[in-house]
Symmetry: C3
């Protein structure tokens, strides 16, 4: 346990951010407005059953009620101060490991809260980038809590904001946070998904599926269809959109059908030169990456994990509805599908 | 659907390219010979049963008869104009989604051709790199058509040609296109591969195997042995060879046994600085990458997916036969295998 | 077979290095002390049964008795001269393929030693970086010998030593070599691991598991717990540690819980600019990468493959015990977990 005396941070400004559910992100400045601040967040852990697809029920565990948990945004050099609450009616001990933090298992060793407890952790955000946070209570609870939904992302912006491949400042008009999770929901002998009274009852079967490494579901934002149809993300032609994508456990490969990544920080770390013109990028299991794209055409875009089995059959598909004018120079239907007999 | 008026391209030169089956690539200039052109291609969709290994039959779907479909080459700023034909005797609707294109699901939304129809799509190649194209007719047909072989690659060269890590021009003496596909061929209760009367009959069983995410075969250019033995690629010592490698659905990791990647565009996008000295590179599922290598020694090289189970047991192995003089400075057999009793 | 005359290397200095078992690395200079040398190594192949987890026995095959085999270190431009010995009491033919070498399948074609034979291979280390070596005796023996443990790494240092992202020299205070392997140990009908009289007896069952692509174990340095508890790696706050990580067959994603990669050569090739601030990096199956980190906080760190199922349930976890003073500016437990009723 840490023994050093507390750092004196009494001269720093404090600001409290209200977290919002993904794919949305709380208000924030892209360029830091002044000196480093202490940024306060509060999250409550919620254990609850979630229907992740028709008839498929997950014994979910969440930060603040959503899968993934809310995205936090601070600037490099800021202090993150998180109050983490485990309500009395939960059944399990939880904690939080920030990949952005330094020491004590990312804070995991200092934040073990039993039901009916709260804790406060502060860490300095020293490295700019998008970083996963997740529950990691120890031993086999670690993969289980992560696979049950206890994951999220913090974005640490450079104080001057983002830079492009030439080092010039670049901003975004919108930001969306897509959290990809895979679930391992057990089936009975007839091949139907099993449903459990509580998380504890689900554990032995779930562990067996997990250890086989093949998920039953691969989803964005906690369930099949969380970001499609009426839940689609939106944008306009000409807008620059930042897509932050996390996967805390299993590799994935985001792709925007009909679009590209103009500037992609595949590892999510902003001190590195972003890659350009990406068709598909790669999120290492246990990380979050970021892709910036200016929409050039209207329409409904699918944003997918480009293992298309995982995208279409297992659930990893989102939509972006984009409004604006079509550009025939970029693409034109020269001949609509026509009967061959016509020629 | 696009409503904007057609762009006037009447002043541009048109050139028609005859596509050839992989691993070969149609004639093309590495440096663009002048102003942007409209480059015309034509592909016919072929549905057919294919023996992908001894006794293992795939209900294949192909662009122009080969798996992968032919590689197209244009320059940045050119217009690609594809005529896509779905012959009367096919059973299914198909389309084409170009990762190189912008809007309308990469053209997928504009090219749904039923059997007996054709369509023409034009798009501007605005980003230099190697990009996958594939069929994406909608819903679960998407992964199924891709896993049945409907994939290929377009290479969009910078107008000035390729550049090395220092920005100096670099060319290639040969180019080969290796398309990796994985298949999910169902087995019967005795563990033998099942054979089907047609694609429709194969679908329910195939879907079940696909959703388990473990392929029965991982192959280059459509079948085990498509690029080995008499079908091996060839080169000479001192020649610079560009290997373009696509995988439209599942990650892979190309490796040239006994060789290297001198310059590797792992994501395949030529505006980025290539990586040097690679032992193994990574193709994200749903992308195409490129690796340039000057052969320094003669012999038969194996070019593999370096998951060696996938390479050797599931099929992902190609050969390159290289002629020239051996360089003893680079490698020498100082002592041939000799009985220990001799010492 | 090579026909060229031997290169005259008679004027070069020879140095013999004694290999040591991982995670340790033999003594070496980070900056080359003079002209290129011939660096001599000797390895003996050991076939033996290994208990890789409680009650789980592998018919192991090893270079020099350890999984992975020992790490070799030379400088760019040096000649590696390996004596490879296959003792009389082994049952199988083996060889060695160096990803760092050029030609003859990385030396694999020149080093097939039967039991009771030895061979000597020399190659020039022309590219700086970390490179896998492994046994590759041909056909399905290749994945089997690799999956049985016959893998290792050579690190080819630039003559001037490592450089950071700005091209400035950077050294390390310690270096550890973590070799990740996955095993495919068959189970009987009751779900218990099977044990075999010898490797040959284990082959048919093992092949079946291998071809399903899902391992039973994913471990560091040959067995569950090889680098945890009393076997943990050690370091001090302020020390710069180089972690070399290999996986010869299957992708992995190293992560240091509570730490970072300050400078990461994900592909392991030192001519490329290292990435900064990494939370998780990616080792392509069939490659070795390197990550440099200066420890900033004391404590026990877990170093994991951040597929947490593979890390915790299948075995891919190591520990680093770090001594020094805690820095409260970087992280502080503002409120220890406390009963909610107290507020
Ligand atoms: Cu938890
Ligand atoms: Cu983690
Ligand atoms: Cu199709
Ligand atoms: Cu696609
Ligand atoms: Cu061997
Ligand atoms: Cu290899
Ligand atoms: Mg809240
Ligand atoms: Mg504790
Ligand atoms: Mg044709
Ligand atoms: Mg065969
Ligand atoms: Mg349509
Ligand atoms: Mg790069
Ligand atoms: Mg020895
Ligand atoms: Mg031989
Ligand atoms: Mg990079």
């Amino acid at each position: 346990a840490p023994l050093a005396a507390p750092t004196d941070l009494s001269s720093l400004t404090r600001i409290k951010r209200e977290l919002v559910a993904p794919p949305f992100v709380h208000d924030h400045e892209q360029v830091a407005p002044g000196a480093p601040r202490i940024v306060e967040f509060e999250m409550t852990i919620v254990e609850k059953e979630i229907e992740v697809d028709d008839g498929a029920y997950l014994q979910g565990m969440t930060f603040d009620g959503s899968i993934p948990g809310p995205m936090m945004v601070v600037h490099e050099g800021d202090y993150v101060e998180l109050t983490l609450i485990n309500p009395e009616d939960n059944l399990m001990q939880h904690n939080i490991d920030f990949h952005a933090a330094t020491g004590a298992l990312g804070g995991g060793a200092l934040t073990h809260v039993n039901p009916g407890e709260k804790t406060i952790l502060r860490f300095k955000a020293t490295r700019p980038g998008t970083f996963v946070y997740h529950c990691a209570p120890g031993g086999p609870m670690i993969p289980w809590h992560v696979a049950s939904g206890m994951v999220g992302t913090i974005m640490v912006l450079p104080r001057e904001g983002l830079k492009d491949h030439e080092g010039n400042p670049v901003g975004y008009d919108r930001v969306y946070y897509i959290g990809e999770n895979e679930f391992y929901i057990p089936k009975d002998e007839s091949g139907n998904y099993k449903r459990y009274a509580d998380a504890g009852e689900s554990y032995p079967d779930t562990l067996e599926v997990m250890n086989g490494l093949i998920p039953s579901h691969v989803v964005f934002n906690g369930k099949v269809g969380a970001l499609t149809g009426d839940n689609a993300m939106t944008a306009n032609v000409g807008e620059r959109v930042l897509f932050v994508h996390s996967q805390a456990n299993r590799d994935t490969r985001p792709h925007l059908i009909g679009g590209h990544g103009d500037l992609v920080w595949e590892h999510g770390k902003f001190n590195n030169v972003p890659d350009r013109d990406m068709e598909t990028w790669f999120i290492r299991g246990g990380s979050a990456g970021a892709a910036l794209y200016t929409f050039l055409q209207p329409g409904v875009y699918a944003y997918v994990n480009h293992n298309l089995i995982e995208a279409v059959n297992l659930g990893a598909t989102a939509h972006v509805k984009v409004e604006g004018d079509w550009n025939n120079d970029l693409m034109e239907q020269v001949l609509a599908p026509t009967d061959l007999a016509a020629f």
